[in-house]
Symmetry: none
Subunit: 216 residues, 4 copies
DNA sequence: CATGAATGAGCTTTCATTCAT
DNA sequence: GATGAATGAAAGCTCATTCAT
């Protein structure tokens, strides 16, 4: 059972995702919860803090789920499993990605938090790619290329949704599968023969495509 | 010399890019220009119309610059030249990409316009990729993969900036070069040997990297 | 053929009647006419003056139509003919009656004009009723009763429409016939036997009722 | 002691009656009360709602005062008492009658409310007149005539004031007495001998006339 | 802890009117 | 005569935030 403070966070996330964080008023949140505005401000200094706390929650959940590959152990990374799970999390906080630009403009502390988040994710990703290269699952590439592949991964991984929204893909589930496909297809050309054989990347692509074809 | 209406557009673009379109009020625009509010509304029905007109200006400038490859002529596409020019344009209207999610939430007609824009760009890109495949510059791939490569191109092409902003890349010029590099690196693995030889893709990457290293 | 000034008046009347004088902007009038705002203000000092001129036009048309009964000649007054014609005129200027209260609040000179108009009409009506009493068409009554019968005639004569609008009588023609019936029925109990015989009041009522029953 | 919400209503009524509802801004109301704009909007969604609430208040007060005559009981209706009391109420909300046309143009929900009010009042009046006819206080008349007598009663009953304003009757009290006289005189010719004897209609007229003569 | 009334700056938009050309 | 750009006060309304209870 969640406390009042947690309930405010949960309701805020829901409203931010559906109506947009910028468009959602504090009153809105309170009405939805059936609490008073004063009460919300007892738990949170201001709207910015709500967003910050949401972001922290998001990061900690993501961190809990992400089990780093062991530096010394030779394992092919299961992209499908990882991305599907990650997308699940990310989708629950999608307003953070969608409204990024406006949020960092309006709330300086949100900017700081997001900057920190990008840094962390970039390190994790860099570590993972290096590991997969070392064990021959990913094609070797120089440091600079690595940097940009990492950047591209993160850009696609965080901004795929607005593209599919504008492409009239109205089904939420399909949209999310497309997001995973965006990333799987993105990885494909960087995989070695061994990589393709030992991860289930191609099979995952086929599977998601089939699922999507069966969805209206 | 530009007319009052054009000046409103120019000032709006400038303010939208620096402060955000959502955060910029009609009064801000008027104050910046030294005109009265009534005068702004003499030229534009409402704020939405200003954004729409800006978007149309952006699309027409982009269209004027984009010369489609001839279906029957065998030419290697000059990505560097194209992307550099395109980024130049896009950068002048970057609020459109950065605030996309909030803009389409607040202004229905902007949503329609952006949807239309995505459709057009996707068609052009699909056409270009097919052409380059036919003449052996790009590796062959099935329709579905093409669809997602196109999607990824557009996602990276429109959302690279927010990544570099959050990665503390404060220099505008460097940021823009990074955007081009994002796309060049993205293209690289899809190019055939012939493609790499006859386009200047690798040289362009080297050139931009060097330029960036020389910039603080 | 009417001059520019007359055309402004005509268009204003039309718009005032359909959209309301308070809701109709000067721009509205100009757009409808295809002239510039400045040009309208060349002919009229301000919006108030337009209304004043309309009111004068209304009064003069009404005066031209109203041929006073001769003091010495014994004639039964034809209420039906008179009212039908009068309603025709009044209907063309109905905003004057409907928006009376707001117009006199907003425009002091309109108030003066309307006060004058009421005075004139009251005199004409008083004269008519006295004449009809003298020749035995109307029942005799004391001065004070006369005053209030006159007042009631004018109230009904000017305010019937809002009642029928609120009673869901949407057909314009029917509404106007109802207005005439309001007044004919109002007169009925004041008529003498001779009055009822020599005017066509009862027949007019029957005629209008029949017409109305045949209209949807 | 009245609450803040009630005070807003009271002040609004006062300002609407003196300056007109259309001319009175929400800021006016707040300034008059010494409260902030935000506070007014805390209690009322918008200006329309204020008017609606005022109308409901008016209708409920009127309803509480109106005790319907018993269908089976033979009683002469006391027009004077009834009208004097009713005028008292109506006068406190006179902007509703005076600005009717503009109010229904500007506020759709006010239109609905007023239409409903007209319907209710018409039913009550019809019922009353039928009752008085059945017991011989009012002269018999056919359905159609009844309909128009009812209409005329309501027109005079709601629109007398604008007439007396335009007739330079500046004294509020006198104006209100005139309104009652308008209706009493209107009823007079429809009364039977019995009706005139058993109601105090004629005496009431005399009384009011005398009172008015004594007022400047 | 919890309420909800209160604030006030600020937003978008409207419109009668003016005036240089 | 005619144009239409320009003005600016004012309208209705929103919303994050505060604070007495």
């Amino acid at each position: 059972m969640s406390s009042r403070k947690e309930k405010i966070i949960e309701t805020s996330i829901e409203l931010f995702n559906t109506k947009g964080a910028i468009n959602t008023t504090t009153r809105h949140i309170c009405d939805e919860l059936g609490i008073s505005v004063g009460n919300l401000y007892y738990y949170f200094k201001n709207k910015e803090e709500i967003i910050i706390v949401i972001y922290q929650k998001f990061m900690s959940e993501l961190g809990a789920h992400f089990t780093a590959v062991d530096e010394k152990v030779d394992t092919a990374f299961d992209y499908y499993k990882f991305l599907t799970a990650q997308m699940e999390y990310e989708y629950q906080y999608r307003f953070l990605r969608l409204e990024m630009a406006n949020l960092i403009q309006a709330y300086p502390k949100v900017r700081e938090a997001l900057e920190f988040g990008v840094k962390i994710k970039m390190q994790q990703l860099t570590y993972l790619y290096k590991h997969q290269m070392n064990f021959g699952y990913l094609k070797k590439m120089d440091e600079q290329e690595q940097e940009f592949i990492t950047a591209n991964t993160m850009i696609i991984g965080s901004q795929w949704e607005i593209y599919w929204i504008l492409s009239h893909c109205e089904n939420e589930l399909k949209r999310r599968r497309n997001g995973v496909l965006n990333l799987l297809y993105f990885m494909k050309p960087y995989m070695t023969k061994k990589g393709l054989e030992e991860t289930n990347l191609l099979e995952s692509i086929d599977f998601l495509q089939k699922e999507n074809n069966e969805t209206v």
